[in-house]
Amino acid sequence: MTDQAATEPTQVEPDPVLVRVREEFGEQVLDSAVEHDQPTFVVDRADLLRLAAFLRDDPELRFIRMSDLCGADFLDVEQQLNRRARFEVVYHLHSFDLKRWVRLRVPLDEDDAVVPSLTGLWPAANWFEREAYDLFGIRFAGHPDLTRILMPDDWEGRPLRKDYQPPREPHEWSFNPEEWQQAVQRGS
């Protein structure tokens, strides 16, 4: 990103992506902004699937590729960083036609960190969602195989949470050959 893409607010000419989504979703989008040429929408999880599908399928937008998905934990800094809840799942979608990325942020409360899985729209979401589940404990409803991906299956705690306490003892690695069979039958 070079200097000309700095934080110029695009008040003069409203961003076409922003306009298109507002037309369709109006008040259902909790918040929207354009920073660094990236439109951002904060959306309730109940509207996530519909908004994601709209962004993907709308002929003017066609955000057909899921670029990235990750979790974030805003423990005790929700106010400072303008977040609505402790957790967030952040999606980055890419449109080949517009050559742009759009960001979706879904706030999630600590005691109910469940969000619909986007694996039905993009199979690419599969591993990314497993990663967010593994490291933050965010659950993705409807995910075909919501298991740990980077950490060992029997690890305790969610390492990327801000209040995570790493174990004081070295982890005892376990290996159970019986699990191979279950693993391969769960599919990937």
């Binding site: 591993w127 991906i149 980077l150 693993a183 391969v184 990937s188």
Partner: protein, 394 residues
């Protein structure tokens, strides 16, 4: 060891994580019907080092050294992706010399990385000599990295604000010498592989990835372009002034193992072109921004300027502060879209830094490609996706 069978009497076989053809520490649980792969489940995480957690405890400057260790075959690409994300929030001016040098180094990195990819892929399929030839040239590129940074692989040379130090004397001659031989050397690899009947037998029509699947699975880089996806971040969202360079985005159509190999060979030729253009236009001037809040003052100033000393002290003890905000930047690493999503809270450490590793996303295509093929072809398919596990597992 007991033989394990599924209900359909298929053999369950574990491959890896220490299998030499799995490019590091990939473990695959395979379900086999004879030699046919019925199902394939990658198991990853063996190199998980918690980089994203560690970033949160390091200042932005300290974090640079972690980036080298993710995609260890393309450390300068990682340095660059990380630096660009921070600079987008900092809003600092990068001197033209640093910008051009970054392009130059990123393309040398692509060359070095593709050389390993082609070489080790060929070795996986039994063509040992290609590996040795590829590494011969790669060593010369690593020599250049060593000249610049003192390190062959863990360079940490591209820093937020510019470069760690100026390009060394003799840099231009060393790079020109590589450019001189490279096109002929690429011809050599092609002479060994491109029309080689054995190579073609092992790769043509194997592991075909359809464009739709590639996009749905989030595949990027040469593997997407081999399937006909005309997408390259250097052209489609230019950074570091890539729009001013003359190069082709190489796109294939068939999407098989052979085409993915061919993409890398042809991209190497394009990289040579870009390096030459960058070298021709390399301007003089400073290698790092003059913003003393971000860049260390030159050593010569420390003895005479109190202010420089203060800046140096602040940077060394506390680091620079990045204004609160979030940004997602991505660059075209040798393996695809290397994205960095940074949430800054105004302190001198990232609040959250997530790396969208291209190998991680590309690996999701492996089960799709493996199903229905032979076990022996699986080795060819893994090599053609060119995964780096430091980056997959982070």
């Amino acid at each position: 060891m007991a033989v394990r069978l599924t209900e359909e009497q298929n053999l369950v076989l574990n491959m890896g994580p220490q299998h030499p053809s799995t490019h590091g520490v990939l473990r695959l649980v395979l379900e086999l019907d004879g030699e046919i792969v019925v199902n394939c489940k990658p198991v990853i995480g063996y190199l998980h080092t918690g980089f994203e957690k560690t970033y949160e405890t390091k200042t932005y400057y300290q974090g640079v050294t972690l980036t080298d260790r993710m995609d260890y075959l393309a450390p300068l690409s990682n340095n660059l992706g990380y630096a660009l994300a921070i600079e987008a929030l900092l809003d600092v001016e990068i001197p033209p010399r640093a910008t051009v040098a970054r392009v130059l180094l990123a393309e040398l990195t692509r060359l070095a990385s593709h050389l390993v990819s082609v070489g080790s892929h060929a070795m996986d399929l039994g063509a040992m000599s290609v590996f040795l030839y590829c590494f011969r040239e790669r060593e010369r590129i690593l020599d250049v990295f060593e000249m610049c940074s003192g390190q062959r692989m863990m360079t940490s040379y591209i820093r937020p604000g510019g470069l760690a130090q100026d390009l060394p004397p003799g840099f231009e001659e060393a790079v020109r010498a590589i450019l001189e031989v490279m096109p002929a050397r690429i011809d050599e690899y092609e002479a060994l592989l491109t029309k080689n009947d054995i190579w073609r037998d092992r790769t043509v029509g194997i592991g075909t990835l359809l464009l739709d699947d590639a996009i749905r699975l989030g595949v990027t880089g040469p593997s997407l372009r081999a399937s006909g996806g005309d997408f390259d971040l250097r052209r489609d969202r230019p950074y570091c002034g890539y729009e001013e360079y003359d190069f082709q985005v190489i796109v294939g159509s068939r999407g098989d193992v052979y085409e993915r190999y061919l993409m890398r060979i042809r991209e190497m030729r394009e990289s040579v072109k870009i390096v030459r253009q960058a070298l021709d236009r390399l301007p003089g001037g400073s290698h790092i921004t003059s913003d003393r809040k971000v860049a260390f003052p030159p050593r010569s100033e420390l003895a005479t300027s109190m202010e420089a000393l203060i800046h140096h002290f602040k940077l060394a003890t506390e680091g620079f502060r990045v204004p609160a905000g979030e940004v997602y930047t991505s660059i075209e690493s040798p393996r695809g879209e290397l994205g960095v999503y940074l949430i800054a809270d105004g302190s001198s450490k990232p609040y959250r830094l997530h790396v969208r590793a291209p190998s991680f996303a590309n690996m999701q295509a492996l089960p799709v490609l493996a199903r229905g093929g032979l076990v022996a072809d699986l080795v060819a398919i893994i090599g053609s996706l060119d995964p780096i596990f430091g980056e997959v597992d982070r």
